[in-house]
Symmetry: C2
C-alpha cells in the first residue's frame, strides 16, 4: 500500500516531498509522463529568452535525487492511462498496475490546440513543458525565424512575446478577447498594449484564430507560431475514474484538497480552488498555487489535516522590465459578480523624486456596500511585486479601505515615498465610499 | 478665529493642507520657527551623501506656494513661545499673539545634546533640520574632515555613517545600548554590524558618550562628530499650556489625535500613538506617521471625524544598498511585553537562482498563546520593503501564522521564487506553534 502521485512537476513533487516529510516510512510513487520532474515551468520563457542558459538550470531536483535522498520512487516516462478507484490502482501505458491507498492527482493543464487547424505544423509550438522549450530553442537556432505570431495574450503569451522580441524577431500577439492577462480591465490592458508596442510588439485583440497557414496566421505573415491559448485542466483521467469536476471544469476539492472520492486528493493546475474574495470556485492555474495545493494534498494524503482556504487571484508578469500585477477583482469582474464596485486609479512615484522614483500606477477596487477592498492592480518598474502583495494580504483578511489607508508601511527614501502609492490610492478611494 | 498649526514640517503642513481641503474658507496659520516648511527631513542623509544635490530638492512646496495656491498663511521664522488655551491664543517670540479656535501642535522632536559635554564645538553637528544639513555640508567642503564619529546607531546614525563613508571618511559609530536600529534583536543587530564593517564602518556598542573632546570621542580620534542620539519629543510648549503627555513622554492623544484639551490636536514626532500589536501607547517618531497623524489632526481640526488607530512599528533603512526592515515586536520585545514568543529565521533567495535571486533573511515572530503573528524582520537587497509591508499588513489584522502561510503572493521569476521567503519563514514558524 502506498501513496501514488500522478504528475511530477510542481504540484506532484510538492505533494510527494511533503508526504515524505510527515511520514518517513510511507511508500511513495510519483508517475510522470514526461522525461523530467520538479522543474520550474514558469522559467521556460526565460530559457527561450536566453537569460536561463540551460534547461538543467530550471530543474529543482532530479529523479535520482528524489529516489536516493527522499526515498520517493519517481518514475519518468510513466504515463497513467486509467485509475480504478474500486481496485485502488492506477494503470500505466506499459500495462503495469500500481496499487495505492491514497492518490494525489496532479495532472496539470495543457494548451488545447485541437480547435486550431494547422497546429501540427513543424513551425507551430506550445511552451508548456521543458521538452517544448528545447524543441523551440532548436527551431530558433536552426531555422532562424524572423516573424513570430503568438496566439493568446495571457501570461505565457506576453512573456513569450517579450522573449522572442529580445531575440530580434518581429512579434505579433493575437488575442481572441478584448483584454489581456486574463483581466477584464480596459485600462490595465491598455497599459500592457502600450508597453508591448513601445518595444515593437504588435498586439491585436478580438482576433480568433481558427487556422494556421504555413506562412501566416490571420493576415499576419510569420515563420513561427506559438500557441499560448486554450489552456484546459487535465481532468479526463480523473473524470473516468469518477472524480468530480466543479463548475469551472477543473477537479473539485474540499479545503483539504480531497476530491469526492475518499483518499483521492488533487493539486495544481488541474484543481479548482476557492476565490476568497467571491467565495466561489475558481480556476486560476499558477505555479505558486500548484506548490501550495501540492503541499496540502501531500500532507493530508500522509494522514495530516491541513487546509488550503483558497486564492485571491494574485498574479504578476514582467513585460520588458515593467511589472504588471493584479489581485482580486477588477471593476468589471466585480460587476459580473453582482457587486457594486468603486475604484480609484492613481499615478505616483515609487520613491521620492530626489531618490530616483519612477512612475507607478495603482488601482484599488472596493465594494461600495461593505467598504471592503476587493481588488487592485499595480504597474511599474520598482516595487510592484511588494505592493500587489500588500493588497493581496488585505484581501485575505477582507480589509476595509479605511483601514488599508492607515497601514503602517515602511518608509525610507531608497524604498518608498512618505506616502506610498498604495496609500495615495486608498485616500482617493475612501472619498468615493 | 482660525486654525493655528505650530510647526510646519511633515505633520504640520499635512495638517494644514488637509484642513484646507476639507474647509476652503477656514483661516489657517502655520507657524514654523525655521526658515523652510514642508521639507523631506528623511532625505537629509542623502543630501549629505551627495545623491541629493541641492536642499531645494528636498522641499515639497515653498511658503509662497502655500500662501498663494492653498491660501494657508505660512510664517517662517515664527517661534511660538507660549500657548494660552484659556485665551485661545499663541504667543510668538516677537510678542505677537494669534488667536485660534482649533490648534494643531506639530512641534516635532529634537536631538537633545544637553547631556553631552562639548556638544557645542564647531565640529559637532546634529542632522535634524535642513539648516543642520547645510552647515554640515559646508563643514565637509571647507574643513575636509577625515575621521568622523557618529553617536547613536538608530536610523539616522547609520544613514549618516553610510553617507560619510561614501564620501571617503573613516567612520566610527558609538552606540550606548547593545543593539542598533532601536530593535532589541541580537541577530538583526549582528547583521547590521556585519554590513557596516564590510563597508569599513566601525560599530562599537555599549559606549555611553558623556564628553566630546576637541580631537576625540571616547578613545576614537576624530575631526567631525554627528550626534544622532537622545531624541526627545518637543513637548514643553504643550506641557506649559496644560497639554498632557503620556507614559512615553510624548503628547498623548485619542484616536482622533485630539489631546486632553478640547480643540487642541497633536501630530507628528511630538505625539504618542498606539502600538497596534501591544495595544499600548508608543512613541515611534517617523516621517510616514507624522504625515498620517498630521492628516488626521488637520481633518478633525477642520471639523472632520477621522481616526488614526495607531502603528505597528514598521521601519526600514538602507545600509550600503541593503535594506534592513522590521515591524511589530522582536522576540525580546515580545517577552518584555509579557508574551510567549516563538520565532523562525530563514535565509532564502529573493527570486529564483536562475533569475539572479539574492540572499534574503526573514524572521517571523508569533505569540504562542494566540498563534498570531506579532512581528518580523527582512534583510536583503531585493524586495525587502515589499516583504516587510506584507508582514505589517498582517499585523494590522492580527493574522494567524497559519493564515499567513497561505497568502496568495505574486509569483513570477523576475520578482520572486515560487515559495516566497515570507512563506518559507511561515512554514518554519508554524512547526513551532
Amino acid at each position: 500500500m502506498a501513496l501514488v502521485v500522478v504528475g511530477g512537476v510542481a504540484a506532484g513533487m510538492s505533494a510527494a516531498a511533503r508526504a515524505r516529510r510527515l511520514d518517513p516510512q510511507l511508500p511513495i510513487v510519483v508517475l510522470e509522463k514526461g522525461p523530467a520532474v520538479s522543474y520550474g515551468a514558469c522559467g521556460l520563457p526565460y530559457l527561450l529568452e536566453g537569460r536561463v542558459r540551460e534547461p538543467a538550470d530550471l530543474i529543482g531536483h532530479t529523479p535520482e535525487y528524489f529516489r536516493k535522498e527522499r526515498k520517493i520512487d519517481v518514475r519518468t516516462g510513466a504515463r497513467v492511462t486509467a485509475i480504478s478507484h474500486p481496485r485502488r490502482e492506477v494503470v500505466l501505458e506499459s500495462g503495469e498496475r500500481i496499487k495505492y491507498e491514497r492518490l494525489v492527482i496532479a495532472t496539470g493543464a495543457r494548451c488545447d490546440t485541437s480547435t486550431i487547424a494547422g497546429a501540427g505544423q513543424p513551425h507551430v509550438f506550445t511552451l508548456h513543458t521543458l521538452d517544448d522549450a528545447e524543441r523551440l530553442r532548436a527551431f530558433l537556432r536552426d531555422r532562424e525565424p524572423r516573424r513570430a505570431v503568438v496566439i493568446g495574450a495571457g501570461y505565457i503569451g506576453v512573456e513569450v512575446a517579450d522573449a522572442l522580441r529580445r531575440n530580434g524577431l518581429r512579434v505579433t500577439v493575437l488575442e481572441r478577447g478584448a483584454d489581456v492577462l486574463l483581466r477584464d480591465d480596459a485600462a490595465f490592458s491598455a497599459a500592457v498594449r502600450n508597453m508591448l508596442e513601445t518595444h515593437g510588439v504588435e498586439l491585436r485583440c478580438g482576433v480568433k484564430v481558427e487556422t494556421i497557414e504555413p506562412d501566416r496566421v490571420a493576415d499576419v505573415p510569420c515563420d513561427l507560431v506559438i500557441i499560448a491559448a486554450g489552456f484546459k485542466p487535465n481532468v479526463e483521467l480523473g473524470l473516468e475514474a469518477g472524480v468530480a469536476t466543479g463548475r469551472t471544469g477543473a477537479i473539485a476539492a474540499d479545503d483539504h484538497m480531497e476530491t469526492n472520492l475518499r483518499g483521492v486528493f488533487v493539486a495544481g493546475d488541474c484543481a479548482e480552488t476557492t476565490h476568497l474574495v467571491t467565495g466561489r470556485p475558481t480556476w486560476i492555474p499558477l505555479g505558486t498555487t500548484a506548490n501550495k495545493t501540492g503541499r496540502v494534498a501531500g500532507a493530508n494524503a500522509a494522514g495530516g489535516r491541513e487546509r488550503f482556504p483558497g486564492v485571491v487571484g494574485t498574479c504578476i508578469v514582467g513585460i520588458f522590465g515593467t511589472a504588471f500585477a493584479a489581485t482580486g477583482l477588477s471593476v468589471a469582474q466585480a460587476r459580473a459578480e453582482g457587486l457594486t464596485p468603486v475604484s480609484a486609479r492613481i499615478e505616483a512615484l515609487s520613491r521620492p523624486g530626489y531618490y530616483e522614483g519612477v512612475k507607478t500606477t495603482v488601482e484599488l477596487v472596493a465594494d461600495r456596500a461593505s467598504g471592503r477592498l476587493i481588488g487592485g492592480s499595480v504597474i511599474g518598474e520598482d516595487g510592484a511585486a511588494g505592493r500587489i502583495n500588500v493588497i493581496a494580504a488585505a484581501l485575505h483578511t477582507r480589509m476595509r479601505v479605511e483601514d488599508f489607508e492607515r497601514l503602517d508601511l515602511a518608509y525610507s527614501p531608497p524604498f518608498s515615498p512618505v506616502w506610498d502609492p498604495l496609500l495615495i490610492a486608498a485616500q482617493q478611494l475612501v472619498k468615493q465610499l
